[in-house]
Amino acid sequence: MADVFKMPKLGETVTTGTVTRWLLAVGDPVAFDDPLLEVATDKVDSEIPSPYSGVLLEIMVPEGETVEVGAALARIGAPEEPGRASAAAAAPGPAPADAQSVRPLPVPSAAPAGNGRARLSPIVRQLAARHGIDLAAIQGSGATGRIRREDVEAAIARAAAPPAAAPPAAAPPAAAIPPVPPVTVPAPPGPRDEAQPLSRMRLTIGERMVESLRIAPHVWTSVEVDLQAVEEVRRRHKERFRREEGSSLTYLAFVARAACDALRAFPVVNSSLDMQAKTRVLHHYVNLGIAVDLSEQGLVVPVIRDADGLNLRGLARAIRAAADKANGGTFTPDDLAGSTFTITNPGPFGGYASAPIINQPNSAILSVNAVSRRPTAVGDAVAVHPMTILGFSYDHRAFDGVTASRFLSHLRDALQDRDWAAELGRIP
Amino acid sequence: MVERDLAVRMFEVMALMRAVEDRMVSMYRQGELLGSLYTGHWHEAIAVGTAAALRPADVLAPLHRDLGAHLWRGLEPWQVMASFMGKATSPTGGRDGTLHYGRLDLNIINPVSHIPNNYPVATGAAFALKYRGTDGVAMAYCGDGATSRGDFHEALNLAAVQSLPCVFIVENNQYAYSTPLALTTAAADFASKAVAYGMPGARVDGVDVFAVHEAAVAAVARARAGDGPSLIEAVTMRMHGHAEHDPAEYVPSELHETWAKRDPVEECGARLIELGYLGADGVAAVREQARTIALEHRSKALEMPMAEPDDEEGRVYAR
């Protein structure tokens, strides 16, 4: 009896994986620990060693396809008889091959009873992956129990409807939203167009952004901050900080520090919604996500765990480390999971203000924009200070405008009034 | 008798055909051509004598041994060489090659390799000339071998029953690749086959350009007058192989030896001297000039670029 290798769980919060590359072909011998395939989850690639020895008898999921954790990926075992082996030796097919039927004619009714569930068509897989439908929970209406497109569409519709008799399929908390309408096929590229395949990262980012905007009513607000006090401390401590830490003391570190305090003062901003359970989960810690741009090819959001336990220096170091990991591609799925609040920092690249998209399952996201010297009122006089706009997108299901404004005011006041020099240590 | 200017011009074009083909034989052996080389040695009188009977508005549907007809019309020797070399500047831009170098702007239909496909196509050209109310004529050429295929029969029959202004030339050079006449037809000759279609047929000495010309003029006049098609069988000998790669060892050497003495270009030159149209020096000069032109065109063709793919799928259909 052959062993079935299933999609591993590559990260605590991961529910699906994409097969990016098979490193062996059907018919190849496989030893325990041999690199078998490459899998991508979110934005992390992992090379998977085989837990079994034998011959790679069958590949059930082709490259490019995304399946649930636990889905069958391959069969490994003793070499099979010629009749069966020839069916298995076919190039990676879309559905798990019914090893008994060598003839290619489409006669599903001739498939042995119960094998119908094994035939997952491309559209069924795609819809299930996109909507997080657990195919194991679906009763197929096709011959011998095959899951048809309509069965998945019905499951999607059920998951969107309020829970009735049947338990809803495993869907993300935002289950109150109707299913995604069918994708329209754009016109093929013409002679002046250049088609570039979208990277996995691009696709993942796209899906997440669409999902976030779909489920959360985004409202944007902002606050203007006078960074004069921060700037003075930065100026005085810049050189020494650079010498000691090997990196510069950025505005972002100050904002992050102030934000952690503000989040403790306004716990609803640091919460996650569970619309299914109709609850809001307050997190009594701050896992701070920092969005890092990867050379304009995509974004990752590494998470600084327990950021509220770090002082300014500690946060600056943690931010630096997170950015280094992101740019070096050395982060793991767990590095990207578990944020309770996110800061994005397009500021260094210019931009007066920005309205970012919430990083689910957070309830809000803060943007740190460009700092520029502008006139501002100091008392009754006009001075030129380094000023900036902090942008704030929040989920209006979680809290309202007054809370948002108060949170931002707290943040602004912290930035403008706190004794930052004391945070860094007085220079004798 | 043909008047002087016409006779001299015919001689010049025959000499040019010979010089160009001799030059291309050398080029073939020097590896400058892409594939096979088909020549019309000993067909010069037929090619030129017939073409000289036509007007520019008349349509020609030649085959591979009729270079002289193309040259008479204004096709340049380098274009022929370019066609055999796969150059971008060939009449088909390199898309077809070897002998497929017609130019519709000169009213010459570019042939395909299936012979005599050009025969029915020529009837169509004749049909169009008549349809439009002109007195234009279409002239089609094929060899003894091609007369065996159905298209020969269908074209002659159609042309005759529709009374189309066609002249059909059968160049009987006695061999179809390795198939001698005796294995091609049991008929005594090809001219007689015309009777079966209800059209006149004539058999002429294919080496005598003046005889060929006279027969062609008569047939063309007939067609132009609306009296329908004719068949002319011009007899010669295929002095080279089917193509230059073919040593033609199946041809009895006596046949070659006999016909070697009947070089149409030399005979024309001799005739011109006899008629007082040119002196011996004049004749020699024409031949020398022809060889010079052939050399010049070779240099020109050699420098031309090879064909490169250029929106190939886009040019399958006409707009």
Binding site: I123 | P120, T123, G124, A125, L129, G150, L158, V316
Partner: protein, 328 residues
């Protein structure tokens, strides 16, 4: 000529289109066997000789290769021949001229050959193996030709007009089975129907039926029947086989996730093979099952009724196949 009152049949639509184009363009002429005095074996060209004269309506001897070559030569000179093959079966006599002279001409020389080849094709008339053939598969393979297969009187007229006006050789396959079987209320529109455009003749959501000619009518019948079972069949009339309207086909199959191809021609390398390959290339990731072909048997078309009926797709098989694909 079309009836003064009542409908316009498929056959009459062809005649109307021919007359209209011959009146509009003096370079259009007809050539074929029995097309003049006799009005054509199926009477498509009845009355045209009287109307246009023997210069423009040419009775040819039995010489398919000859008159096809003639048409090519005339077209090279700028005329617009409409060639009639009495039965599509006889087009094989002209294979050489079509393949070698006609189809390759523009590519080789840049000179267009604006010829239209009309050929009544298809079975179901008890006419036997050499009077019932479908020939589209051979010619679809050849670069340089276009192939149209109208299923309705309106498209029969519109596509013939487009074919005649097209500067390329167009093989116009008219269904002799449909000649007098279908009629639409007049008057007929004589607007050209673009070559290369398929048409969704019945919208549906469960399965796409991709078909042409007689198959369109069978498909519509099957769809009507299956609608009663809750199966919604989208019928796509391809109308042109070459060039194939991949955009319309892909949009339909991407919508329904199921594709069934139907044609009367024999299954093996019938044109359905090209359609099926194209569908799987374009729509694979949205398919709920394999692309299925319903086609004639791999035999010549027999004469005797029960034999012929068993050789070509019939309604029950079409219905059951669509049902199986939709529900399995």
């Amino acid at each position: 000529m079309p009836a003064e009152t009542g409908g316009v049949s498929y056959l009459e639509a062809i005649t109307e289109a021919l007359v209209s184009e011959m009146e509009a363009d003096p370079d259009v002429f007809l050539i074929g066997e029995d097309v003049g005095q006799f009005g054509g074996a199926f009477k498509v060209t009845r009355g045209l000789l009287d109307r246009f004269g023997p210069r423009r309506v040419v009775d040819s001897p039995i010489a398919e290769s000859g008159f096809t070559g003639l048409a090519c030569g005339a077209a090279l000179m700028g005329l617009r021949p409409v060639v009639e093959f009495q039965f599509a079966d006889f087009i094989s006599c002209a294979f050489d001229q079509i393949i070698n002279n006609c189809s390759k001409q523009h590519y080789r020389t840049g000179s267009p050959i604006p010829v239209t080849f009309r050929a009544p094709f298809g079975a179901r008339l008890r006419a036997g193996p050499t009077h019932s053939q479908s020939v589209e598969a051979y010619f679809a393979h050849i670069p340089g030709l276009k192939i149209v297969t109208p299923a309705t009187p309106q498209d029969a007229a519109g596509l013939l007009i487009s074919a005649i006006r097209d500067n390329n050789p167009v093989l116009y396959l008219e269904s002799k089975y449909l000649y007098r079987r279908i009629e639409v209320p007049g008057p007929l529109s004589l607007d050209p129907v673009p070559i290369g455009s398929a048409k969704v003749v019945r919208e549906g959501t469960t399965v796409s039926l991709l078909t042409y000619s007689v198959g369109v009518h069978q498909g519509l019948q099957a769809a009507e029947q299956l609608a009663g079972e809750g199966i919604s069949v989208e019928v796509v009339d391809l109308r042109t086989l070459v060039p194939l309207d991949v955009v319309t086909i892909a949009a339909s199959v991407n919508k329904t996730s199921r594709a069934v191809v139907l044609h009367e021609d024999a299954r093996r390398l019938g044109y359905g093979a090209e359609i099926a390959a194209t569908v799987q290339e374009e729509c694979f990731w949205r398919l709920d099952g394999p692309v299925v072909r319903i086609a004639g048997k791999n035999t010549p078309i027999p004469t005797s009724p029960a034999l012929e009926d068993a050789a070509v797709p019939q309604l029950p098989e079409i219905v059951s196949t669509l049902r199986r694909v939709a529900t399995t």
